[in-house]
């Protein structure tokens, strides 16, 4: 078979810290079947969703206007652990809403990663010092331990650190 793409998808998520108390994030999805956009406004310091603006420009999937409107039920919730579960619970998990919910989640993840990036950027270049830096992060936050392979129990980055639960 010729190596021609049958289906393609681009998803772009960006985050902008507007001022000291507001962060804007947007996700644009374009694929062979759909073209949609979700923008959120997040208020600091609570990371509360203050605005959710979904737009669907093109879709082969049936997306009803009330489904788009229901995404706005996420307004008022705070970005944090369990976000997807809360969003699905409040907004609903209808099949024709799934992709917009994913886009809302991508926006929220982008906001979290925009802050995470700052913490990672502080890691020293020197390998030994970097290890100490990451080890300190694990000591300060029990949830980081065993959260991915870098902080797995046998990783040198957590060497000598007592597992959070004994």
């Amino acid at each position: 078979m010729p190596h021609v793409l049958f289906f393609s998808r681009n998803r772009s998520t960006s985050v902008e810290h507007i001022d000291e108390s507001s962060v804007k994030a947007c996700c644009r999805l374009q694929d062979s079947l759909m073209d949609a956009f979700v923008e959120i406004l997040v208020k600091l310091p609570d990371l509360e969703l203050a605005e959710v603006r979904p737009e669907v420009y093109r879709s082969d999937r049936a997306i009803l206007p009330d489904a788009i409107e229901s995404l706005r039920k996420a307004i008022g919730i705070r970005i944090g652990p369990g976000l997807v579960k809360i969003m699905k619970g409040l907004v609903g998990d209808r099949e024709n809403l799934g992709e917009l919910l994913n886009m809302l989640d991508e926006c929220c993840q982008g906001v979290i990663l925009s802050f995470t990036k700052d913490a990672l950027a502080k890691a020293p270049e020197d390998r030994r010092k970097a290890k100490e830096y990451y080890a300190q992060l694990v000591k300060e936050n029990v949830r980081l331990y065993d959260s991915c392979i870098a902080f797995a129990p046998d990783s040198p980055l957590v060497e000598g650190i007592k597992p959070p639960v004994t």
Binding site: S8, L47, G89, S114, T116, D118, V142, P156
Partner: protein, 373 residues
């Protein structure tokens, strides 16, 4: 100026009659990863995966590449596929690989639907076990023997020590601790009681009474309910709550049931940054509407950082709400890490609620060493 950007590109090629080949790229400010995933068209099962890091952060990250093989054999149509990938590839390997793998499979699924003429292929969901999620009429049982024992302990140690936040399996699928093991551990370490607070699950009262008698130990029932304002520990509510409920609605139900509601781990934050970086102060946090709707705040919880516990304690103090402690145990060894010391007799759920209302208790680091108290 943008502070963060992530681009994901996935292309799907129909390699042969029954093979979809996905090539995906994820590039953001932190990582750049690539995946080649081969997926069966007829069954949507992952047949092979190859992954590459282009940019990464820690020296350990590249070890995530072999972990990708754990997803070979996963079916993209399976219920809970995304969670399964995040749990196996994300937690055991790299979250960015997990994110891209889910994207590749979701895109392949769309392509497969197109090939099938727009009809999504469905795999029947496995029948869910009800797991005893039932509400039964409360029955009165004698607690004489238990009462005497609890009182004796209370006198010895200046109060009744109860772990107010415990999850058991299978009532909480995220837990690995079986209730019998939780009870044995609680007795072994010297707690006076445990409160079973499984997620959106109401323990059958007769079953709990049976466990009490069998182990001659104080076992109480609560419930951890997810609301739009976070998780709440609820006591005295017999009505089952499924899914997510608005805190306002839960507050009404709890009031009607004459129960008690506590904000569980209210400042559980993120992996690499805390509320401090966001500019959240205890004073600002006290303004959150949720603190006007709850009656207590969990100020000691073993699944959050000590900073987060201290922050919760400051907010509890500032709002005049009582602070409780609970391990949030999900495995047996967690039981009793934190607990609540009550300065009154607790022999049953009514006395627990009365005690919580009375406010004569304190959060304690029972098993966990901490500099907080």
């Amino acid at each position: 100026m943008l502070t963060f950007m992530r681009n994901k590109v996935v292309g799907i090629e129909r390699r042969d009659e029954d093979t979809l080949q996905a090539y995906g790229v994820l590039e953001d400010d932190i990582y750049a990863v690539e995946l080649d995933v081969s997926i069966g068209l007829s069954d949507m099962v992952i047949r092979s995966i190859e992954g590459r890091f282009k940019r990464w952060t820690t020296p350990e990250c590249p070890k995530a590449i072999p972990v990708l093989q754990q997803a070979v054999g996963f079916c993209a149509l399976e219920e809970g596929f995304s969670q399964k990938v995040h749990k196996s590839i994300g937690r055991k390997g790299c979250r960015h690989f997990a994110n891209l793998l889910v994207e590749c499979c979701a895109t392949a699924e769309q392509a497969a639907n197109l090939i099938r003429g727009g009809k999504p292929k469905k795999i029947p969901a496995e029948s869910k076990s009800s797991g005893g999620r039932t509400q039964k009429k409360a029955e009165r049982h004698s607690e004489k023997s238990l009462g005497k024992k609890t009182e004796a302990h209370a006198e010895d140690r200046g109060g009744v020590l109860i772990d107010l936040h415990v999850h058991t399996y299978p009532a909480s699928p995220c837990s690995v601790a079986r209730v019998e093991d939780v009870i044995l551990e609680a007795k072994r370490i010297g707690l006076d009681g445990v409160c079973l607070t499984d997620h959106n699950y109401i323990w059958d009262k007769a079953r709990v009474d049976e466990l009490r008698r069998k182990h001659d130990f104080l076992i109480l029932r609560g419930n951890e309910i997810t609301t739009d304002q976070g998780d709440m520990l609820v006591f005295g509510l017999e009505r089952p709550i499924q899914g997510i409920i608005k805190l306002d609605e839960l507050r009404i139900l709890v009031s009607e049931a004459e129960g008690f509601i506590i904000a569980a781990h209210p400042f559980r934050g993120f992996l690499l940054f805390g509320s401090g970086q966001l500019g959240l102060t205890p004073e600002k946090a006290m303004e959150r509407p949720l603190f006007k709707k709850v009656e207590g705040v969990e100020v000691l919880n073993s699944k959050v950082t000590e900073k987060e516990n201290r922050f919760a304690a400051e907010v509890a103090k500032g709002t005049g709400l009582a602070g409780t402690g609970g391990s949030d145990a999900h495995q047996v060894s967690d039981v009793g890490l934190y607990a609540t010391r009550f300065f009154s007799k607790i022999r049953n759920e009514k006395e627990l609620i009365d005690a919580l209302r009375g406010g004569r208790y304190e959060a304690v680091a029972f098993k966990k060493q901490t500099d907080m108290l």
